[in-house]
Amino acid sequence: MKNKAFLVGFAAVAIVTGSAFAKHPPLFHRQVAEKSDSNAMGAKPLQVLQRRSGPGRKAAADKLLAKLERAGLAKAGDERRSDDADAHLLDAPDWRLQTRGTGEWALYENLAKTRQLNEKDGVPPGQEPTIDQLEGPGRNFIKSVLSDVVHLGANETIEAWSVTHQKGVSGDIHGGYNESVVASKIGFTRAINGVAVIGSGSKIGVTFDTQGNVLGFEIDWPDYAPLVTAGKNAAEPTVDVGTVRQRLKKVRASRSFAKLVDERPLECGYYDAGTLVGPSAGVRGACQAHYMTASADGHRRMGFVDTVPIGEAIVSDSSWPEALLLQK
């Protein structure tokens, strides 16, 4: 089977048994969900953090390009560079790299390889690479290519968080349907003293084809520093899980839906909405609820993600809609 190439290429050992994320997220993610759902953050105080400025978009791109070239994934000099209000872009015939924010956000595409993606090289759904097969290569890639921009502070670790798959689908208009999985992405998050960072910030995704070639990566990985208020590091007392659920209930009451059809366990931790959202009032404790609703006839499904702050005092943050709603 095609998946063998991946197994051989990365010396992975797991048996491929089926789709990953929704049913079986990585162990750390499952542990966070289990703990959060029963206890939120345990009403423990959390040090409030702030995102530190990165090295700048161009400097980050230069660092990444040097490592990408060493890994054979880009060739310096092939690129055209440009800037717009939000991004520094390196555009080459066979690859693209862009950086945003202050250099903590990056997106790389291996165009030479993604152009070659074809359903005939994929594996049937159910035979996708597993977390175990993807995590090692993902970590190796972070170590070898991303280490100049992915820094870890004291008591910080990188934890596997998600696995997603890309499927090619096609059909003759007179009938027939084909599908095959051609690529998979392993996602990582940061843990600070074991507390996961939820939200788009502190995320790394590395995408591989079924042969183990790197197709691309994306990172949103700022360095954090304690938020200092009135000369003191701000540690925020957090509320218990009952209060968290009351806050979520208030937010949910503002959505009008006919019926609730599914609900994932709560996920609590530090909330970093990410570079693309823009400045925030700090990276602080929050719980996130994913729930699926449906119209009365069941024909339309509508999923919601509500993220509520869990500090005793509800933070005033104009970039955080749920915080604004809870303050009303």
Binding site: D84, T114, S295, R300, R301, P321
Partner: protein, 269 residues
């Protein structure tokens, strides 16, 4: 034109039944560099009588998308979803400031694909849906090229019914349709509106721009794109190489010229 989002279509001064420009029929020969692109949007934050849940990030997603794409194209219209079914369907899609009057159409609304004969999109009006079996896009006026609507399930294919749902809508020569084959989560998509437009402006392929943008949230959206081709290889080439800068270089395929459809689907991205 934000005031239009809460007002009636007529108050926005735009939509009527006038004909659009009859240009670019031989689109395969058009040099994209000389082509002035445009786009339009229909967006809503809520629905009449709360017949469906509020699209809490819907308007902001569109605001962000429109603001950013305006760097490369003219925003021809930006209206709400009130009384718009007529303009999504073949009945009125050719009207000035309607779907066939722009190259790219963007919206963000609830959707479904519970039958094998059509996918549906929720309008603002109570119990009103636009359905793909009543659409034929790309064959009138300027001719729509890219139909990008962030909605649940509308591009579902694993039941083998994709062409049954989309055959009519795609047979008018529409070049690309973007959406989801599964669930889209409401609440975190607004920054992705900026990112989608930014990536289109930068020359990313349409498929990469869609998944990189709406897959950049922490919500784990299911995302999909679909194209047509004379052959499977032609379809795959369009799917994997078409950009906002070159889409006009791909001749429209209509009716019997279409042999295949193809797409990518990303789960929980």
């Amino acid at each position: 034109v934000l005031g239009c989002l809460t007002g009636a279509a007529a108050a926005c001064g735009g939509i009527n039944d006038g004909a659009g420009p009859q240009a670019n029929e031989d689109v395969g020969q058009v040099e994209q560099a000389a082509y002035a692109r445009n786009f339009g949007m229909h967006c809503t934050g809520s629905y009449q009588n709360d017949w469906l849940p509020a699209q809490t990030d819907g308007v902001q997603t569109c605001n962000n998308f429109g603001n950013k794409l305006s760097a490369s194209a003219t925003q021809k219209f930006y209206y709400n979803l009130k009384s718009k079914q007529y303009y999504w369907h073949d009945t009125g899609d050719q009207a000035v400031n309607s779907l066939e009057d722009v190259d790219l159409f963007f919206s963000d609304t609830h959707g479904g694909a519970w039958t094998g004969t059509y996918a549906e999109y929720a309008m603002w009006d109570d119990q009103t849906l636009a359905t793909t079996n009543n659409m034929r896009l790309g064959d009138e006026g300027r001719g729509l090229s890219i139909f990008s609507v962030l909605s649940c399930h509308t591009l579902q294919s694993n039941d083998g019914a994709f062409w049954g749902r989309w055959g009519k809508a795609l047979s008018g020569g529409l070049r690309a349709t973007l959406g989801s084959h599964g669930d889209v989560w409401i609440g975190l998509n607004a920054p992705a509106g900026t990112q989608f437009a930014s990536l289109l402006n930068q020359g990313s392929t349409i498929k990469s721009a869609w998944v990189s943008a709406f897959g950049s949230t922490s919500a784990a959206n299911d995302l999909a794109v679909a194209f047509t081709g004379k052959t499977l290889a032609d379809c795959q080439s369009r799917r994997d190489n078409m950009t906002w800068n070159n889409f006009m270089n791909y001749p429209r395929l209509r009716d019997g010229a279409i042999g295949y459809w193809c797409g990518w689907e990303w789960d929980d991205v």
